[in-house]
Symmetry: D2
Subunit: 340 residues, 4 copies
C-alpha cells in the first residue's frame, strides 16, 4: 500500500502516519521528494487498513499494491483449479462443460424431459431452480424441496450431476443433500453469511457475479467461501447493469481474461441472463466459448411461453441441439473440446 | 399491459395470444391497425405474466400499464405514511429527523459518547452497526450482540431510539429485541427471504437501495416487506454505482421526487455513503434536505482515523454540530423543520 | 406510437390528444378500457412527435412502435450491405477483414514498417491516426496532413487500403483525398455536422459508438450519414463506459447480434480500445470473431513503449502474427474466413 | 507519477525505466522494498507520459500525483473565478444567476414573450437554441442564424445577456457576434477542435459535461479552452447516463463539491436535462441551489406541448415564477442570494 501525502505535509503530520503504520505492526518506507512525500506500507494484508489512512486529512491518495484477497489469487496458486463434480465431470480442464435446463423446476415431467433432451444434445450438468429470487413478491417463487426431489430423480435416472440455487443458509444445507453444485445467485453475491455457509459445506459452489459487482469484489466474495475451507468455487459472469437497454444486461466478456489472470478458479458464463433474448443467446454462447469459458450455463425449456419464469431467454430443444454442435467447433478451434 | 405484435402477425398467431390471455382469467382488447395489431390485457397483476407473452415469437413489445407493486404505491394510499418510532419521533411528517453515529459500534464508551454528542447537536436517532457487511473476509465484522447491548444502553440512558443493520434472518429477530428500527442494507436489497423476515416482525424497517437497484425494483423490494403485514417501511437512497470514480458512489437525488410521486413511504437519504468523502458530506446533506428527504442518516465518529470501518466518510463532532444548524435553515426555507 | 393516458382521463382531454394527432396528419386509433384509454398513432415517423405528447399532462406513457431510423434498418434493406473498399477488399461478406496499425502515425518509417508487418500477418487494411483526439491538451495531437502523406505512401507501396480518423469537417475533406475509409471517432458520434459532412462525400465511413451511446442512438447517428446519400457506413463497437474499472472500457458484444438484427450495415469490433490491456486484446479478438464481426480493428506497434499514444494496448508484431492464425481457425469454425 | 514495478523486477528492468525517465528530462526517485520497487517520476506534466510506462511489461501500476490539468486547478488559482457577463451580471460571486428560456428558439414572438416572463420572475440571462443537436436527422434542427437574430432582439429590448449553443467552429464565430455566452453541449464536450475555437474568441463559455464524462475529463476539456487564452469558462453538470431509467439522466450533484474543491471555475447546474420530467424539475432545482451552484439553467416554455423539442421537461411560466421565489429562500438559507 502506497500512501501519498498532500503537498507541503509537515514533519509532524508525517510522523503521525509513520507512527500509525508502526502501531499496526508494519514498517514504513519514506520517500521524500521536493514537494511530495510518499510512504510505503508493505506487508501481508496492509490493504485492509486502507480506511484508517484514508480517514487522515494529510493523506492525498492511497494506491493498493497487494491484492486484498489471497486464497483466490494466482499468486497463491499458480495452476488452474480443476473441480471434480462427479465421476465423469471435471470443471476447469480441457473440456468445456455445459449446464442446461429450465430456469425453474416446474414439474417432475418437465424436469425429466428437459434433462433428457439436454443430455442427448451433449450437456453434462442439469440446472433448475427450486427457490427463485423474483423481484415481485407476487411472481412464482419456486417449488421448494419438492422441486429438489424432481431434479434429484432426474439426476439419478440420467446419471448427470445437478446445480441449483440457494438463497438462505437453510437452503444451503438442503441443497447440499440433493444437488451436486450449489449456486449463489447474483443478488446474494455480497450476502456474506450465505457465502460463509456455502464455505462450510463441501459441495462445489457456483458464485454468480452481481449486476454491479466489480471483478475485485467478486474475488473478495469468493474469498469468503474459500476462507471457510471450501476451495471448490466457480465464478460466473452473467451480465452487469449498464445504461444500454436493448438487452436485459450487458455481458462483460472482458472479465474473463482479467479473471483468468488474477485467479486460478474456473470461469463459467451465462449467456441466457447475459443478453436475455432467446434468439441471441446462441450467438453470445459462441463468444463465451471463444473467450475462454470453462463452462456455460444455458436455459432450455421445451415450451418457453409456458415457462413460469425467464421464458423470453430460454432456448427451444432444437435450437440447443444445433448450438451445441456449433459450440464444439469453436471449442476445437481454440484447442479445447465440448462434445465427446 | 399492452402487447404489440410483430408487423404482419397472422390471425392464427393473434388467437394464440388472446386465448392465452383468456386462460389466465383476463379479457383481451384487440386494436387492429393497417400494419400493427395491439392487444390490451388489463387487470390486477396482469404485469406479472409479462414473461409469458415476451416468450412468444409473435410479440414485438410489451408495455406495462399498471405498476407491479401495489401496497407501496400512491394509488393504494394517497397520504404520506408517518411512522411512529418512539414517543417523540415520527418520521414522514413536517420534521426531518437525523439518524447519526459511528459506522460500527466499536466500544461501550465510543457508542455512548458519540450518541451524547449527536443528541446535543439535534439528532434524534442513534445509528451504529453490530453486524457489518464488509467486502473483505479479513476486515472487522462487527461486535455482534455485544454491540447491540452497547447501543441499547446508550438508547436507554439518552432516551433516543436506535437503528442497526440485520444481515440474516436470525439477526432480524435479535435486532427487533434491541433496536427501534431494523436496517436492511444495500447488499441485501434483493435478499428476499430477509425481506420477508423483516416483514413478519413489527419494528419499522429502513430499506436501503442497492448500488444497481432501479427505483422500480426498490419499490418491489419494499412490497416484499409490506406484503407480510409490516407497513412501516422507510426507503433509503445511499448512492448508486456509475462510471464516475472521483466519489465512492453517485448519489441519485433524482430518485427523491420520483419516489415521492410513486409511493407514500418516507424517504431517508444517506449522504455519508452517497459521496463517501468526509469534507463533502455536509454539502450533500444540504442538497438532501432541499430535495425533500424525510430523514438523513449520517456517520459521525469522534476520531475517524481510529474507526474500524468507513473512517474516511465520518464527520467529526464539531463538523456535525455546525452542519445541523445549517440544515435547519434550509429545512425552514422549504417549510419544514429539523431542530426543535 | 402508442399513447397511454392517465387513469380517469376525461373525454375533453382525450379529444385534445386526438385533435393533435389529426393536426399532424395522422389518424388516431382509440381503445377504451374500463380504467385506461390507449390511443394509437401509427404511420411513418410518428415517433418524431413523441416529445409533443410526452409534454401533455394527461399522457402516462408512450411506447414506440416504429423505429426512429429508416435507411439503417433491416426493414428498409433485408440483405447485408457489402462495402467495396478497394479491388480486393469488400467488407460485409464471408471474409472477416482486419484493419491494423499504430494508434497514431508517428513517422514515415514506423508507418511503412508496421504496415508491412501487418500485411504479412494477413491484415488487409492499414489504420493510423493523423489527427488524434486526446483528453489532455498537452498530449501529442498527431502529425496532421504530413501523417496522411505517410499513410498514403505506405498504402501505395503495399497496395492496401487505409482508414484514418477525421475530427472536423475540414479533416473529412482532407481525408477523403488521402484515405479509403473515414473514421468518425467515439467522441464525435453525436457531432451531427461532422456526420452530415461524412455523408456528403463518397468514401466509406467507419462510425464508432460513443462510450455512452445506446444501440438505438448509434443507428440514428448512422442515419445522419445515410440520409445525406452515403450508404457505405460500418458501425464499430469499441467499449462502453460502466462501473467496472479493471479494464479501460466494457466491451459490449451483446450489441453485435442486436445490431445484426436491426440493421444491414457491417459491424466492426475494436478489441484494442474495448479492453485496453495488451495481453488481453487477443483473447477478446477471438470472442469478436465468434460473435459475428465483419471486421476487426487492432492496434499494432513495433515498440509500444515508444508509442506516443495508446501504447499499453498495442500488440507487438509477433503477438499479432500468432493471433491472426488463431482468429482464422475460429472464423472457419463459424463458416467464415479471415486469412486467404 | 508513481510507478510500481511487478514483484521480482530485475535490476536490468529497473534501469530501463529509470533511463526512460531521464531521457524525458525528469529525475527518478527509487524506493526499493523487500519485494516491491517503486519509482517516483515527479515534475510538471509527468502524467502526460503515463502511457509510455504503462506500455512496459515490468510496470504493475501507475498512480498519478499531479493533476493532468493546470490552468483549471485550484492550485493554479486559489480564489473563485468571477465572470463578468454584462454590466449587471457576474457569475461566480454571491448571487446565483438563473438562465432560462425555451429549449429551441421557435419564433420571434415566442422568444420575446418567454424572455419577458422569465425576466419578471427574476432570471437574469436568456437561453434559447438556434442550432439544436437532435439524435434523429428527421427532428427539428433549429432556426439557425434567424433564431440568433430573434434572441439578440429580445436581449436588446429587455437588456438581458444571452446564452446559446454552438455545434461547429463556424457557429462559434457566429454566436460570438449575437450572444453573450457560448454554450458547448454535452455531445461536444470532447470535440477538441470546437473547444479550441471557443478558447480563441473572448466570449465566456458554458461547457456542459457529457453523459459519460468523468469530473477529471470535464476539467481536461475546460483546460483545452483555457489553454487558448479564454479564462472565462463555466462548467455545467446536466445529468450523466446510468442504469436508472425512471428519469432521463441521473443528476450527479456529488460533482459539485468535488469540482469546487478541484477548480476555481463557476459551476452551473441544469435540472431540466438532469431529470427530464417537468413536475420534478423544481424539486431538483432546490437541491441544486443548496449544493452550491453558482447558476442554474432552466427550460421554460409558455406552451410545452407545442414545443419543437424537449417539451416534456419545460416549466410553465407560473411554475417558474413560483419556483424562483422558493429558490431565493434556499439561497438565503445558505448565505447567498438569487432574487434582488
Amino acid at each position: 500500500m502506497i500512501i501519498t501525502l498532500k503537498k507541503g505535509a509537515k514533519q509532524k503530520e508525517i510522523t503521525i502516519v509513520t507512527d500509525k503504520i508502526k502501531s499496526l505492526g508494519y514498517k514504513p518506507h519514506i520517500s521524500k521528494g521536493k514537494d511530495i512525500t510518499i510512504i510505503g506500507m508493505i506487508g501481508e494484508y496492509a490493504e485492509k487498513y486502507k480506511d484508517v489512512f484514508e480517514a487522515m486529512d494529510v493523506v492525498e491518495h492511497i494506491s493498493e499494491i497487494q491484492k486484498p484477497y489471497k486464497l483466490a489469487s494466482r499468486e497463491f496458486k499458480k495452476e488452474n483449479t480443476v473441480i471434480k463434480i462427479s465421476r465423469n465431470v471435471e470443471i476447469g480442464g480441457k473440456k468445456i462443460h455445459v449446464m442446461a435446463g429450465p430456469c425453474a423446476i416446474e414439474s417432475k415431467e418437465l424436469m425429466f424431459n428437459t434433462a433428457k433432451i439436454i443430455k442427448e444434445a451433449g450437456a453434462t450438468i442439469i440446472r433448475g431452480g427450486a427457490f427463485k429470487p423474483r423481484s415481485s413478491p407476487y411472481a412464482f417463487q419456486g417449488l421448494g424441496e419438492k422441486g429438489l426431489k424432481y431434479i434429484e430423480e432426474a439426476s439419478e435416472k440420467l446419471r448427470m450431476p445437478t446445480v441449483s440455487e440457494a438463497m438462505t443458509i437453510e437452503q444451503v444445507d438442503l441443497l447440499s443433500k440433493y444437488c451436486d453444485i450449489i449456486q449463489i445467485g447474483a443478488r446474494n453475491v455480497q450476502n456474506y453469511d450465505l457465502l460463509k455457509a456455502a464455505g462450510k459445506q463441501n459441495k462445489p459452489v457456483l458464485l454468480k457475479r452481481g449486476m454491479a459487482t466489480t471483478v475485485k469484489e467478486l474475488l473478495l466474495s469468493a474469498e469468503y467461501i474459500l476462507s471457510q475451507g471450501n476451495y471448490n468455487v466457480m465464478l460466473c459472469e452473467r451480465g452487469i447493469r449498464t445504461f444500454e437497454d436493448s438487452t436485459r444486461f450487458t455481458m462483460d466478456l472482458n472479465a474473463v481474461p482479467v479473471l483468468k489472470k488474477l485467479t486460478h478458479l474456473p470461469i463459467i458464463l451465462d449467456p441466457s441472463h447475459g443478453i436475455g433474448i432467446r434468439e441471441h443467446v446462441g450467438t453470445m454462447a459462441k463468444a463465451c466459448v471463444a473467450v475462454g469459458a470453462d463452462g456455460l450455463i444455458i436455459e432450455v425449456h421445451p415450451c418457453p411461453q409456458e415457462a413460469l419464469s425467464d421464458g423470453p431467454q430460454s432456448l427451444l430443444p432444437d435450437q440447443f441441439e444445433t448450438l451445441m454442435k456449433e459450440l464444439d467447433l469453436i471449442a476445437k478451434a481454440i484447442g479445447r473440446e465440448l462434445l465427446d
